[in-house]
Subunit: 337 residues, 2 copies
Amino acid sequence: MNTQILFRSRPAGEPHESNFRRVQHGIPTPIGGEILCRTIWLSLDPYMRGRMSEGKSYADAVDFGEVMPGATVGQIVESHIEGFAPGELVVGYGGWQSYWIADGHGLRKLDPSSAPISTALGVLGMPGFTAYVAVIDMTGATSGETVVVSAAAGAVGSAAGQIAKIRGCRVVGIAGSDEKCRWATGELGFDACINYKTATDLDAALAKACPDGSEIYIENVGGVVGEAAFRNLKVGARVALVGLIAHYNERKHHHGLDIAPILWKRATMRGMIISDHAKRMPEFLRDAGAWLREGRLKYRETIVDGLDNAPQAFLKLFHGENIGKLLVRVADDPTRP
Amino acid sequence: MNTQILFRSRPAGEPHESNFRRVQHGIPTPIGGEILCRTIWLSLDPYMRGRMSEGKSYADAVDFGEVMPGATVGQIVESHIEGFAPGELVVGYGGWQSYWIADGHGLRKLDPSSAPISTALGVLGMPGFTAYVAVIDMTGATSGETVVVSAAAGAVGSAAGQIAKIRGCRVVGIAGSDEKCRWATGELGFDACINYKTATDLDAALAKACPDGSEIYIENVGGVVGEAAFRNLKVGARVALVGLIAHYNERKHHHGLDIAPILWKRATMRGMIISDHAKRMPEFLRDAGAWLREGRLKYRETIVDGLDNAPQAFLKLFHGENIGKLLVRVADDPTRP
């Protein structure tokens, strides 16, 4: 059977399990030009919250009754496309379901001997690619500059900080637990990491970690973290506006950000959506693949077992419960020992 | 006697007349390398509110007991600097007082036959220069693009919209009264102007005036106006962050702006402070002077008589009571009929 998690109702504020509905159907049959894939890994990402909202966002809203969208890693069961064979592993956009039909568009084959296949959803996938474009293309971080990264232990933030380190920057993370901060400084090589939940004065903590302010800020969060990071900017700073997860569950957009420091510091803030940058993907895969093999780019995964647990797992993102990439293991990964 | 308006106490929220103190001293005597100027016109500008606040801003806070700072147009009474002669008219930074001592630095002579000398504080001064840099350098507005301007009837906004028109843009203003909107569309050539105070749905009004959104937004205001303008941006839009007057009187910076559309629209927002751009002043004076003579750049002045009324007049800025440039006539202008 094909288990699917459908979009049932719009959350008013924080999503709830009741916004999703689980259904089961027979496994679909691919026709000419199609492939049937069995889902192994499902990626859970903050952007999905936007697609559950009414009205304009960077992606179209999902319709009620549609399968929740999402990137997936799976194995080909049956193929009617030349060049894709049963048993091969692929990353695509299968959504929250245990089998999906692909037309080959946007499907990329994975070599499990090169990197664990789940990384195609994390450090070698959309989150890692987002970090790469944010640090390199959006802000042009160069050697000697100070880079502040919020959600420093998230899938994007952890990669962004490490890429900035690879480029010779001083990197200061902001994260929501001591464990996250220890990972950032202890394993990922961040120069400092501030636990914003326990800092008595976030501005003072940032000032201490960045005595001259920061040339660059990678914004994933917004809220009080974003405002403190804005105040910490140097004159002429560059901000990559990647995400605003602190605001995604607001019922109306009343809780904005004090952007006066963007003015005072003559900063430049650039909003980005990774899908605009698809042509940079080959360079990213080349660079990030090499960094991963060389041990210069590390990652962690928070794994939740079973598609049925995806709705509950999704909520973890908004409570900061994941460290690194949040994944649902929909089926056993045949490439993992 | 020299009348001075001193900074007396920090406003908690909106400035009040009690934050200022009026004193009288003897007229100061210039020594070698100095000039004594008699103030004719005093400029009142939103940035002055920032200088009354504690803590970081783009300018240093004024100390208690200091003369309130401000740009002034005056006449030289006595000069000990070669090249400046009594009777000559100058624009400088004399502050809120009826006489000031200048050391020649930043002092520029004015030719009353070329333009009314008060324009050196408005359309040919800092506000006009700000508009010029915002439209041309910060956003690079080009022919055929749609430019939205907030505070459209203010000193900066009215110039910004006209400069965008001169560059071949479609210009939509947002202002706070029907009279202001009539001025913008009737005299200044704006294509449309929305009264945000009477619009039942500002988003809908902007969507109607900009059916495809706007490529450019000149932000002077923030608040609900700024948020609506952000939502109205096209993908890839450019925002010049010039001012945030709706927020200057906030006690703490709690009332931020929803910047999610900057992310969704992949917009670029650039904060600017005009003093960074001093080297562009000659081009600005050349271009704006020509546009003024050709009747392509128009302006209005809201004039308050008497230095004693400066504190009360300053409050007008925050209530939107001025149209065009807000000036204090400190002494009769000998060049005006």
